[in-house]
């Protein structure tokens, strides 16, 4: 068993994650996607797309044969070089991001930096301890690294069929390090935390005042459950990662419904595909988005081309399903379960207990429900969209609890706090959007 402890590993992981982000940003610049966003606003989308596209690429390569590191990084490096070469003037202009801060804003920004620094310290401090980390996500990352390819036997050994994005980012990090370092790799989850904050801030700032943006970003990043998954003890679960992708997907869906541009639709569809390959709950979100896009493109605008383009996400998703089918990887988590409406009231009570847990969520959920009841007249279309996505996703979790064969007293307390991570950024955005000035 190897126990690498060099601080060099942490620095290399940070550089790897920056490299992946730059690849994603380069991808956006090369194809002129999201061209009205500046460089800094593109960064969270670059990170999300970069991680997802890299994972998809490694998944394809990893089934043909053993990974060759130069073959993996060459296209990423070429994309960055090409983007700098072809889009240099545009990037030079986009790097400028000016906004004025009053003393209150500066104080709030200082609080955000302190909060981020604390979470980063926690991510660095301890090795992997999260159950799902060593049982699912980083377990397979390690196994794929040790085997050198996507070994289907691993899914049978570990009795799991979870999708591969988080696994393969971990594998890529280990390949770059040349060793398994299950402390350094947790910086990936800290980066997700960071990018969630950046994407949340830049999206709210595009719609509301700078003060509101900074305040609500601080409130998001200081939620104890998000801090835990971003670095403190529960780094290693994939739920914050899925919450990040769901929020990114919401922002692009909202942009697309407003402007109906292909330059938004393509990255949106890619993010939908990536979301469905982070965790299986991501597929629910993807399906909801697809139905909305279908309604918007066909019924409202009669644009069949847009509808076809929106189906890009199906390519990696179907590829994953074919892989599972060819290798007989199918575990039915609901085997033995049946719809039991009698447990509905018990589920609601257990859910309510989690929603009211101040130590996990502060006052997020009580304020969210109050805002729905008393401020619904203030809700603009984008907040209504966030609410629609959140409600349907929430309903799917309720349906799972009604069907699962696992006793409700075990299932709900064990999983609902993590499922809420998928929805927390959307809920907080709804609150921020409904609050009067």
């Amino acid at each position: 068993m190897s126990f690498p402890t060099s601080a060099m590993n942490e620095l290399i992981v940070v550089l790897v994650l920056v490299f992946i982000t730059l690849f994603g940003v380069a991808f956006l610049y090369l194809f002129q996607f999201l061209s009205d966003l500046n460089f800094w606003e593109k960064i969270p989308y670059g990170f999300g797309l970069g991680c997802g596209l890299l994972a998809i690429y490694m998944f394809v390569l990893g089934r043909i044969g053993h990974w060759q590191y130069p073959v993996i990084i060459t296209p990423l490096l070429l994309s960055i070089i090409l983007a700098i070469f072809l889009r240099f003037n545009q990037i030079k202009q986009d790097v400028i991001w000016r906004f004025s801060l009053d003393p209150w804003d500066k104080m709030l920004l200082a609080l955000i930096f302190l909060q981020v620094a604390y979470t980063g310290f926690e991510a660095w401090l301890r090795p992997l301890s999260a159950w799902d980390g060593w049982a699912i996500w980083l377990l397979k990352a390690k196994m794929f690294y040790q085997d050198g390819f996507v070994n289907p036997e691993i899914y049978h050994l570990t009795i799991s069929q979870y999708p591969y994005v988080v696994n393969l980012i971990g594998t890529f990090i280990y390949q770059t390090l040349g060793v398994v370092d299950d402390r350094a790799v947790l910086l990936f989850f800290f980066f997700v935390y960071l990018m969630l904050g950046l994407s949340f801030f830049s999206f709210i700032k595009s719609k509301f005042s700078i003060t509101r943006s900074i305040l609500f970003t601080f409130l998001l990043l200081s939620l104890q459950n998000i801090i835990r998954h971003g670095g403190r003890f529960e780094a290693g679960y994939a739920d914050l990662t899925l919450g990040f992708y769901l929020f990114l997907g919401f922002t692009l869906l909202q942009r697309y419904l407003t402007h109906s541009k292909i330059s938004t639709l393509i990255p949106l569809s890619l993010l939908m595909g990536i979301s469905s390959l982070v965790k299986e709950e991501g597929f629910v979100f993807t399906a909801i988005c697809q139905i909305i896009i279908f309604y918007h493109s066909i019924f409202r605008h009669k644009n069949f081309n847009h509808f076809l383009i929106s189906l890009i996400w199906l390519l990696p998703y179907i590829d994953w399903q074919i892989f599972k089918s060819l290798n007989s990887i199918y575990i039915n988590p609901y085997s033995g379960g049946m719809l039991d409406l009698a447990r509905f009231s018990q589920i609601v009570i257990l859910m309510g207990k989690e929603l009211a847990k101040i130590q996990n969520w502060n006052f997020l959920w009580p304020i969210f429900f109050l805002a729905l009841i008393f401020n619904k007249k203030n809700l603009k279309p984008d907040a209504k969209l966030a609410l629609l996505l959140l409600s349907l996703q929430f309903a799917s979790y309720l349906a799972i609890f009604l069907i699962t064969p696992i006793p409700i007293q075990v299932q709900v307390p064990n999983s609902f706090d993590r499922l809420l991570l998928h929805l927390a950024p959307l809920a907080l955005y709804t609150i921020a959007a409904s609050a009067k000035k």
Partner: protein
């Protein structure tokens, strides 16, 4: 509306207080973690299972088959997954036994 504003204000105050508490904790109870080596940290986080698996990893080669005799082989999911995490690519066989032990077959 006033109730929401009051709650958001309370939320903000709670968050700032919690941030302060977290920093206090980082400088007091958590600073010990900085001076621990990796093995000590993992033992503290994962307990006796980690020590048991460390012993297997140091005594059984990568190509060996390891029989893990476990009092609770089917219900002990933690040991099952931790074993694969720390011992793969060794082949693992889990068997019931009264005492937790192991045997390497090279």
């Amino acid at each position: 509306m006033k109730a929401i504003t009051v709650l958001i204000t309370l939320w903000f105050i709670l968050s700032v207080s919690r941030l302060g508490y977290n920093y206090l904790r980082a400088f007091t109870s958590e600073k010990n973690w900085i001076f621990m080596i990796d093995y000590q940290k993992k033992t503290r986080l994962l307990g006796d299972d980690f020590i048991f698996l460390s012993n297997i990893a140091s005594s059984c080669s990568i190509s060996s088959t390891v029989n893990i005799f476990n009092p609770f082989p089917k219900s002990d999911q933690k040991l099952f997954y931790l074993s694969y995490y720390y011992l793969y690519p060794r082949k693992l066989i889990f068997s019931p036994s009264n005492v937790l032990s192991y045997k390497c077959n090279e």
